[in-house]
Symmetry: C2
Subunit: 118 residues, 2 copies
Amino acid sequence: MSNAKALPLLESPAAPCCPPLSERPLTAEESVRTATMFKALGDPVRLRLFSMVASHEGGEACVCDISDVGVSQPTVSHHLKKLKDAGLLTSERRGTWVYYRVEPSVVAAMGQLLTARD
Amino acid sequence: MSNAKALPLLESPAAPCCPPLSERPLTAEESVRTATMFKALGDPVRLRLFSMVASHEGGEACVCDISDVGVSQPTVSHHLKKLKDAGLLTSERRGTWVYYRVEPSVVAAMGQLLTARD
């Protein structure tokens, strides 16, 4: 299954709030909320793990699917949890493993912030 | 002048390299380069300043245009320099002031990373 083509924007309570950054300045409160999400992708290992989950078959991955990133499995779990805490991933336990999936509304809203205004 | 509508993607040497994160995992080298840019937006004050430059009349701003962010002018300058170092802003000195402008190719490439694959 590929990720949804038409992304539901701004439906998640965790989603950034805002129009493209070129349209108007963020308020202090908006920037606190939104910076958390950019910060979560601001670490090379975490960004790479995020891309592994995002591009994994079926749109989800567990720690068991991810290797070869040069860090231990507990460190992978730690980073995935940070991405989840930032609202970028959701998780579901199934049997032994926790499966992670990209939260498309949050990622799409981040992408929207970076688009140019008309 | 508003920002260009049709953004020239991936033309800057500083631009992230890559297709949407949902398409394939980033390599280690790609994620190091790209995480730097997300990290630059991962601080609330810096993100807010970035939005102020991006949305400022004429698409550019100097420290003299930016106030009311709760930090001193030297701190504003420091953050703007960090955004420049990350490739998100360009700068030009004119008289007393340095003017900052968003680098649209880099920002568009970051936005592209966050789009869903078809």
